[in-house]
């Protein structure tokens, strides 16, 4: 029984990181209707950058943290400017494919800079593992869980209460109408990609804190795709629910059934979701007309 609780607890907390990545994907999808396949590589970039700044340059940890987040934002903006903006008005297929190509390119770039080694990040999260009733909560996972929750609430308020958030929601509804109302759609696109870069860098560092940073990190990031589809592609709450559910289910399947199942449980969930409820748990169901 205790084991079961442990698996659920682990799932909850790793699910927090998936939720963060999923938030990044949903943000970009909501306003630009582009699905960002390159988010795994963006995460790795943030983590590698943090490693370089803290271990090689030896800056204070807080400054490294902020610089790595800023780096994530810059990468998001660069990607938007140089690959997505020329494709405005082109079929969506091209935009999806270009993020795939981009992930390959970024992979090459990070291999060129950081090589194929695995690095361990310095301890930047204070605290140590907590044990509640025999169930151990490791502090890094707790941190990521609460960070995900905090960011979720922040983003929720950002979308509902601020003017920029409102313009982003309007753009998500319809690019043309938003433009006609005087909203700078291009600025909204850049803004969403910058936010996506920020979230990617944050989740990348959290993941790397747990597993170390290497060229395998993007593969973990891919598991956020099932989370996004589970929750619904255009739903912020759905990203959080999806991330947590995928995290818990994969830990349960890995712990109780067979360890190799852990790696593919998210993808099995993905297939089932696509067959039975393609718009996800909380997503908007779109009706098509000719």
């Amino acid at each position: 029984m205790e084991e079961l609780f442990q698996y659920v607890a682990n799932g909850f907390m790793i699910g927090g990181i998936y939720a963060l990545i999923a938030l990044g994907i949903v943000l970009v999808y909501k306003s630009t209707s582009v699905f960002n396949f390159a988010i795994g590589q963006m995460m790795a970039f943030g983590a590698f950058l943090f490693w370089t700044l803290s271990v090689q340059v030896k800056l204070p940890l807080l400054i490294c943290l902020l610089l790595a987040l800023a780096g994530g934002v810059v990468i998001g903006l660069l990607i938007e400017r140089f690959t997505l903006r020329p494709l405005i008005g082109q079929p969506l297929l091209s935009a999806v494919l270009i993020t795939l190509a981009l992930s390959y390119f970024l992979n090459g770039l990070s291999v060129a800079i950081w090589g194929a080694n695995q690095y361990k990040l310095p301890e930047f999260l204070p605290g140590k593992p907590v044990s509640i009733g025999g169930v151990i909560f490791s502090h890094d996972l707790l941190w990521s869980f609460f960070l995900a929750m905090a960011l979720f609430i922040l983003l929720f308020f950002f979308y509902q209460r601020t003017r920029v958030g409102l313009s982003m929601r309007a753009t998500a509804e319809s690019h043309q109408i938003a433009q006609a109302r005087g909203i700078n759609v291009r600025a909204v696109f850049s803004m969403s990609w910058a936010l996506c870069g920020l979230l990617a860098a944050a989740s990348g560092m959290l993941l790397a804190y747990r597993f170390g940073v290497s060229q395998f990190l993007p593969l973990v990031g891919l598991k956020a795709f099932p989370a996004v589809l589970f929750g619904g592609l255009d739903s912020i709450a759905g990203a959080v629910v999806g991330g947590l559910t995928v995290g818990i289910l994969e830990n349960l399947a890995g712990g109780l059934v067979a360890s190799w199942l852990m790696e593919i449980t998210p993808y099995i969930i993905l297939l089932l979701i696509l067959i039975f409820r393609p718009h996800g748990l909380l997503g908007t169901k779109r009706i098509e007309r000719i």
């Binding site: 981009l102 390959y104 993905l270 696509l274």
Partner: protein, 352 residues
Amino acid sequence: MAINRPCGTFDRSYDQDIAIIRTRLQWILLVVGLVFLFSLPLFLGGKWLDLANFIGISLIAVHGLNILTGYCGLISIGQAAFMAVGAYTSAILTTKLGLPFWAALPCAALTAGVVGLFFGLPSLRVKGFYLAMATLAAQFIIPALIANPLEPITGGIRSLRVPAPEIGGFICRTSQSMFYIIIPMAVIMTFFAKNLARTGVGRAFIAIRDNDLAAEVQGVNVFAYKLLAFFICSAYAGVAGSLWAHWIRAINPEHFTLMDSIWYMGMVIVGGMGSTAGAVFGTVFLRTLDYFTTAYSTSLASVFPVVANLQSALAPLIYGLVIMVFIIFEPRGLAHRWQMFKASYRLRPFPY
């Protein structure tokens, strides 16, 4: 496209109208080209022959993907996984059951096709990049199944030895002999892909790609045709996988990664979606590029010693850049450039 016809060539019968090869010059070029292709082993060295074999195998997988993505408009990033199904089916049939290669090959195509059908099921309700997600799932689930629950018959992550194909008592061990299995297969599959696009099935695929709702109203059974596209795509991958297994002769789930699937997708894009000639251009171009970057990355890395890991980073860098440039500047691919060149050549000296 009438504009692409040589001057003075007219159709006097229906047979002439549907012919792929119209003029005597085209026939001569075809025969000379085929003779040249099949005499390649006479003057190509080992490395180049291996490249040719690799191009042939990739070409089959890319033709399948082109039918699915280029003609039917469904994205797949799981082609390498379906190749794995074909490779393992063929390997197990020949080693465990002792079937000859020529019998294992169609079985591999069939098995891969059926597995592809299963992963095509979500196309009942979703399309576009949602479907890409289903194939992404295939890309992770299939190698994991091969490595773990199917370990007793596949050997798991240890490599599975595959015998050399034997045809009529002749065992094909060398690159030369494999060339005469792979390249004829590639030519046959190209011919089949070219003709498929011109049949009713191919037209139904194109109708679905252009507007699936309109296609349904026109009486095209959209779901059945989407599944058929998945079946054909995966069956092509199965053939490619089977050939790959018997050429490399030791297969491993690690050989069939997401990156390989993205490579195949890239070949379709660079060549030009929805064009059989494009699939050939894209495959030859990217495989040759890959060959040269791998061959010269060591010397390039010594020129720029500042970037220590350039050697292993060069291939993904160049490859990612090439696809991005093609998507942004020439989304219709090399095939479109070739058409434009032909048109301008025929119309010379007039601009149009």
